[in-house]
Amino acid sequence: MSALAEILFGGLFQGSLYAMMAVGLALVWTTIGVFNFSHGVFMMLGAYIAWQLIELGLPAAVAFPIAVVVMAGVGWILQASVVRPLIGRPNIVLVVVITTLAAGSLIENGALTIWGPRSKQIPALIAGNATIGGVGVSLHQIAIIVITPLILAALWVFLNRTRLGLALRAVAQNEDASHLVGLNVTALYGLAFAIAASLAGLAGIFMGGYRFMSPVMGSDPLLKALIVVVFGGISSISGPIFAAYLIGFFEAACSYYFGLYWTPALLFGVLILTLMVRPEGIFASRSRGLA
């Protein structure tokens, strides 16, 4: 019983973090058609900005939302500086991989210079622990498990029930036609990056509350998010969300039965199998679009 509870809980928790990360990657891919390799750095930066604000004396409840908003600005600026100038060029996918990797590396080393290599921690969302089904869990993790689906649901409502969300979905499908109905395509690209960066920053804040932060804290989650979007299909928003939780459960089960040591190998086994059998992802239709 406790084994099941542990896997269930671990899966929900990891899945939540992966979903927050993967959704941002998928949002940027579907709207702009590029892959953002500085996404992991967004996560790190969100956590460090929150840490800095708390260090300056702000309460966590104020610092966290500010950090998330600042990350939206960071996402916008990054898009304007290393993605927008390249739009329309040949090989844009590959070029943007390089520019976002480079920007990510710069920001990572910038963080190292500003904040130093010493590990840091930010306060948990809710302090304290509880025992559920014979498994000891922190309230922080419970909070993440509850908050993440709410945020993802809010994103869904935004994309599917608002005019601005409709515009984002339209840009994802046909750029020329979007211009011809008068959409501000450049601003929508910026918005996609801003939302993605905010979600990644929030994931960073979640992570900084239970694990030590370092300037490279985003690289492992980025890798996991990549696995998630390959597994779930990157051409929609819902695919990666389901896949994130599936991967989370898979990882939790592997860790429980085979140990942490074998988990990455098994995960990549699944990834390779997915690529061989269903390269477009298990939840994907064959087209691009936000849904």
Binding site: H179, L180, V181, G182
Partner: protein, 237 residues
């Protein structure tokens, strides 16, 4: 009547390839305008330059007296110049309702959203039956109706149609031509690119033959021309 659109000496192209060579034409002085001519000679490029999808290298494009050359597509849509591109690719995973909402995205069009929606439904009753259906599930003719309907939602002051009947079955084509005539009778001036000259002769009052990125021949109202002459324009003598 002053022309609502006049293109003055526009040169444009893609990268180092120049497609339009100093092209000039006018629309709206005598009614609807038709463009025809062989494929690959700049008709679509001209329309892309007019609607802001492509920045012309030189020349002026006056819409309602204002130079719109080099302005953003959004500003041009905002001014009321609406372009329905060729091939009805549109937004495959959006519903018809979504497309109509997008058509009314600009602040100017939003004021008339309900009225224009009623107009579109009156013109294309078929769309109302499939209002929540995704565009990708529609037939070619229905998709073209969505394209034109979306443009009408943008409250056009000048409507540009690029080969609206391309690839449609004859019966559907006739229906669509009738709808386009209806739109014109509703008071919206049109610029239409078409390969079907019969349709153009019926719909428009002024014709331009576009060849090698320039106007080869202009046919003003009153000047008629027979089938043989058009054929020789297309294929040479």
């Amino acid at each position: 009547m002053n022309p609502i659109l006049s293109v003055e000496g526009v040169t444009a192209g893609y990268g180092r390839v120049t497609v339009l060579h100093d092209i000039s034409l006018e629309a709206g002085r005598f009614g609807n305008v038709g463009l025809f001519g062989p494929n690959g000679h700049g008709k679509t490029t001209l329309l892309r330059a007019v609607s802001g999808l492509l920045q012309p290298k030189s020349g002026r494009i006056l819409f309602d007296g204002q130079d719109i050359a080099g302005r953003s597509a959004r500003a041009i849509v905002g001014a009321g110049l609406i372009h329905v591109p060729q091939g009805n690719r549109l937004f495959p995973d959006l519903s018809i309702a979504d497309c109509m909402a997008l058509g009314a995205y600009s602040p100017r069009a939003r004021l008339h959203e309900a009225e224009n929606r009623a107009k579109v439904i009156r013109l294309f009753p078929k769309l109302a039956e499939r209002w929540r259906q995704r565009v990708r599930t529609l037939s070619g003719g229905e998709r073209q109706m969505v394209s034109i309907g979306t443009a009408l939602m943008s409250h056009p002051r000048l409507l540009i149609l690029d080969e609206p009947t391309l690839g449609l079955a004859p019966k559907i084509k006739d229906e669509l031509c009738a709808s386009v005539m209806d739109i014109s009778r509703g008071g919206v001036p049109l610029i239409v690119v078409e390969q079907d000259i019969e349709f153009l002769l019926e719909l428009t009052q002024q014709l331009y033959l576009v060849n090698h990125g320039a106007v080869a021949t202009e046919i003003k109202p009153g000047e008629s021309l027979d089938h043989g002459e058009i054929m020789s324009m297309y294929f040479g003598h």
